[in-house]
C-alpha cells in the first residue's frame, strides 16, 4: 500500500492566518492509523497550533523515529521537510540538524517505545544538550505496531488486552525530564485539545528542549478496562495543575480580573505565557514543586497535566557551543577554509 494523499479541494470560506494559510494547508497525507487513535487528535492539535502561530511550513523540520507515533509526521505540514529516522534515534538526528541550521523550527514526534525503551538514552542526552525543539511524546503504554506488548511507561498493575498485568515499574518521562534539567516539561491528554493547543504553542516558542508527554490512548491494544492509559481512565483521573494561555508577541496582554492567581512568564522572543494555577498554590516555575506535585498525583492514582515546569532562561545547544548566529550550513566555503597561506605557515609547526 502506498501513502494516501488527500483531495486538494478547499472550502473558500476557511479562515486564514497571517500567512494567508488555512488549517488545511498545515495538513499532510491521510492518516493510516486506526480510527479513533489518540495520535490523530494530537496531529489535529499540532495543526491547530501551527496555524494559530502562523508558522511557515517551509521553515519547519519534522523529525521522528519508528512506531505509530513516528508515522504521524507524514500527516501534517506536507510542505515541510521531514525525517523519519531509525527507532529511538530521532533525538540525535535532530541534534545534528539543529547544530547545522539553528533557524528552523524542529518538531520531534516520538512515542513511549521510541523514547523510553530503545531511545531512552537519546532522549535524555538531547535534554542535556538542550536542543531547541518541540518533543512530543505520544504515550499510550503499549507497542501498537507489534500488536500489544507493554511499553516502559505501562503502570504497575495495568493489564494488557489479554488480561496480563504489568509488574515492572514505569518510566515517567515527566519526572525524568525534570530530573535531567529540562527547561520545559508538560503533560497533556490527546482528548483535551483545549489544554493541548496552548501548551504546544508555548513549547514551540520556548527556546530549548520542550517536552510534552501526551497521553494518547491506543484504541486497538490499550483502551480496555484495567488499562491506565485508556480514554476512560484519563477522563476520570486527569488532574490539571495549570491552565495555559499563550500570548504571541503582537497581542496585547490583558490580565484577567483574578490576576493574583496568574503567573506571567516571558519567552525569549517577547511572547508571554500566562499560567493560571488550577491546583491550589501550584508554581510552574519551581522545579522541585513540579516534581513533588507529579509524584503526589501519582500516589493518588491521578495523572498530573498542564505546563508543569518552564524556565525560559536556560542555555540551549548553540549557547553552550558558542556558535555563530548564521546557520553553519549556510556559511560560505570562503569563511570556513583557512587557505594556502595558513597551511604553509602551519607546516612550520610540524618540523
Amino acid at each position: 500500500m502506498t501513502s494516501i494523499t488527500k483531495p486538494p479541494v478547499r472550502h473558500p470560506g476557511l479562515p486564514r492566518n497571517a500567512l494567508g494559510l488555512t488549517r488545511r494547508d498545515y495538513e499532510g497525507s491521510m492518516s493510516t492509523l486506526c480510527a479513533g487513535c489518540g495520535h490523530d487528535s494530537v496531529t489535529a492539535a499540532l495543526i491547530q497550533a501551527f496555524w494559530e502561530l502562523d508558522l511557515p511550513p517551509d521553515r519547519a523540520a519534522k523529525m521522528s523515529g519508528i512506531g505509530c507515533s513516528s508515522k504521524t509526521t507524514a500527516y501534517f505540514m506536507k510542505e515541510s521537510h521531514g525525517f523519519n529516522s531509525v527507532h529511538g534515534r530521532m533525538p540525535s538526528v535532530t541534534s545534528g540538524a539543529n547544530a547545522a541550521n539553528r533557524d528552523l523550527t524542529y518538531i520531534g514526534i516520538s512515542g513511549d517505545g521510541d523514547s523510553l525503551s530503545i531511545g531512552l538514552g537519546q532522549m535524555c542526552h538531547a535534554i542535556r544538550r538542550n536542543v531547541n525543539m518541540l518533543y512530543m511524546l505520544e504515550n499510550n503504554g503499549v507497542y501498537g505496531l507489534t500488536k500489544g506488548q507493554f511499553s516502559a511507561s505501562a503502570d504497575i498493575g495495568s493489564t494488557s488486552k489479554k488480561g496480563e498485568a504489568n509488574e515492572q515499574a514505569p518510566i515517567d518521562p515527566v519526572l525524568l525530564a525534570l530530573t535531567l534539567g529540562a527547561t520545559f516539561v508538560a503533560r497533556s491528554f490527546s482528548g483535551d485539545k483545549a489544554q493541548l493547543v496552548p501548551i504546544i504553542k508555548t513549547g514551540l516558542t520556548h527556546r530549548g528542549f520542550a517536552l510534552i508527554d501526551v497521553i494518547s490512548p491506543c484504541v486497538s491494544f490499550n483502551d480496555h478496562d484495567g488499562s491506565t492509559k485508556s480514554y476512560a481512565y484519563m477522563r476520570e483521573h486527569e488532574m490539571e495543575a495549570v491552565d495555559v494561555d499563550f500570548v504571541p508577541l503582537r497581542r496585547e496582554i490583558t490580565l484577567p480580573e483574578d490576576h493574583a492567581a496568574v503567573t506571567v512568564v516571558q519567552l525569549h522572543d517577547g511572547s508571554t505565557v500566562r499560567l493560571r494555577a488550577t491546583a491550589p498554590g501550584y508554581d510552574a516555575t519551581n522545579r522541585e514543586a513540579a516534581y513533588r506535585h507529579v509524584r503526589s498525583c501519582q500516589k493518588r492514582g491521578e495523572v498530573a497535566t498542564g505546563l508543569l515546569f518552564i524556565d525560559d532562561a536556560g542555555r540551549d545547544l548553540h549557547d553552550m557551543n558558542r556558535t555563530v548566529g548564521t546557520p553553519l550550513a549556510e556559511l560560505p566555503f570562503e569563511a570556513l577554509c583557512p587557505g594556502k597561506a595558513a597551511l604553509d605557515a602551519l607546516m612550520e609547526r610540524y618540523r
Partner: protein, 599 residues
Amino acid sequence: MSGTNDFAFKMATVNGTGSASANSLLMQAIFRMGIPVTGKNIFPSNIQGLPTWYEIRVSKDGYTARPPEIDLVVALNPSTYAKDVATVRPGGYLLYDSSWPLDPTLARKGITILGVPFGQMCIQAFERDRDRTLLRNIAYAGALVALLEIDRQVVEEMLNEKFGKKKALLEANHRAIRLGYDYAMEHLEHPLPFHLERMDKTSDSIVMDGNTACALGAVYAGATVGAWYPITPSTSLMEAFKGFCQKYRVDADTGLNKYCILQAEDELSAAGIAIGAAWMGARAFTNTSGPGISLMQEFIGLAYYTEIPAVFFDVQRCGPATGMPTRTQQADLMSLAYASHGDTKHIVLFPADPGECFEMSVTAFDLAERFQTPVFVASDLDIGMNDWMVPRLQWDDDYRPDRGKVLDAAALEKVKKFSRYLDVDGDGIAARTLPGSGAKGAYFVRGSGHDKHAAYTEDSDAYQEVVDRIARKFEYAALAVPKAELRLQDGSETGVITIGSCDAAVREAVDRLREQGIHVDFMRIKAFPFGPEVRDFLVRHANTFVIEQNRDAQLRALLAIETGIPRDLMIPVLDYSGMPLTCTALVAAVTKYLTEVPT
C-alpha cells in the same frame, strides 16, 4: 645492515613516567638534522604502569616502515627485560640503567651491553621524586645524544622552544641531558658504529600523525559539524579538529564559533548527529574505531538508503570485540565495505600515511556530497597515532567543494515538480534539496520502502527502481574514487597487492626483492569500490600476493567478490600481530613461493 644514518633503536619504558616526551624529542632532533626518520609508539591500553616501547628508525634512503631489526635497545623496564634483550639483533647493543647490578635476564652473549646509572644520577641531581622519575628519561636521551651523535645543539634548542617560559623546568631538562651525555662521553665508547651525520633530506617534509592530518583535512574541506564518542585510537582526531577550529574558525568580531563539536552519548548518536547535520546541508563527520562502526551499522544503512552524505573516519584497531585497543590492524575492511543489513555497499578510502589522510579527508567530503552517500576513511592506529615523516601538506586556493546536485530555491523555480529520487541525468544521482529552501522541494526522508518520489511504498517495482538506481550510482563511483597506485617493472609476472599503512613496508619489500633479483609489480588499493585497473592488474599477473593486516584475508575476499577473480588464485600474506608491518613477511613469502614452485 646498519650503518651511518641507517639503523633503528628502541626505548623500553613504563607508561605514564614521562618517556614519551624524551622519545619524541629524539625523533624530532634527528628530523631537524635533515635525516629521514620514523617513530612508532607501541603503547598499552592503560594510563600508568604498563610496558611501552618507542621505536625510532633512521633511514637515509627514506624507508618509513617499522624497522625489520633493532640495533640498540634502551631497556628501562625490568618487567620486559627478557623480551627486550631478545629483540636486539646479533651484534647489536643494549643500554641499561646501571644504578642496579646487571639483571641476569639482560646478560646475553653476542651483543654489547652498556650501563649508565640514570636513576642514581637523577637522585643525586634532583630533589623532588617527580623530577627524579621524569628526568631519568631526558637523561637517557642525553646518553643517546652522545652514543648516536645526535646534534646536541639541536636538542638544546628544542628544549628551549618547549620550556622557554618555564625557567626551572628548562634548567632541569638541560641538566638531565648533560647528566646522560657527560657520563656516556666519559665512560662509554662513542659514537656507536651506527650513528648520525647531518643530511639535507627533510627540508620538504613534516612530521605529523594521521589523526591530525584527517582533522586538518576536515577543516580545509569546510566541515562544520563534528560528532563523536571518545574511543582509542580515534580520539585525537576530534581533539585535533577542535584545536584547528579554535585557531581558524572563531569569528574575529564576535568570538563565536563557525563549527559545532558534539560529544555524543555513544557512537549511535554520533552517527545520527552527523547524518542529521549532513541532511541539513552542513559538511559533517564522525570519527571512531571498529567497535563504533559496529554500533553505527543501522544508521549507516539509513544514510545509504536515504542518500545522505556524511563522512566516517574509522581509525582501525585490533578486533574483534574490544580486542587490543592500542594495537593496529586492517580488520574492518569487510564491515565497512558492506556496512549495515540489507543490500548496501559503501565508498571507502584507504590512506597510506598522514599525507594521504589530509588529501583523502577532503576527497571524502566531495565524494559523499557528489554521490549522496556515507563515505568512510579507513585509517588505522599506525597511521593515526604515530609520527610519520611526509611531504609538507599542500593546498590549492582554487579548490571549491563539490556539493553535488543540490537544488536551491532558484533552481526549484525552474522544476515542474520535484521528485527526490528521480534520476533526471541518467547517472544514478538524483538531485536533493535542503530543508528550509522552500515548500516546493519539501520531501519526506524515510528509511522505509520508498519510490522515486520519496513516497512510502510496498510496491515491488517502485522499490526496485530505487535500489537499482543506487547500485548504478556505485558503478559511477568506482570510476570517481582515487585509482589504485601502480608501480610496474618490465615483464614481471608476479604482483603484490596491498592497502593502507602496509604501503611503506611493501615498497621496502619490493626493493629488497629486486636486490635479490626478484622483480614484482606493486599495486596499492586506495579506494572501494575498485576501479577497472584493479581487475586488470589481477588478470595480468600469474602470481599475486595480497598483503594486509588481518587474519581472514579480507582484502583478498573483497577483490574476489568484486572482480570475480577466484579467491584461491591470490596468495594471502597476513600479519595480524597488532604491530605496524615490517618488510620481512612479504619478502619471506614471495621468495619462499617462487623458490618452491617450479616455473
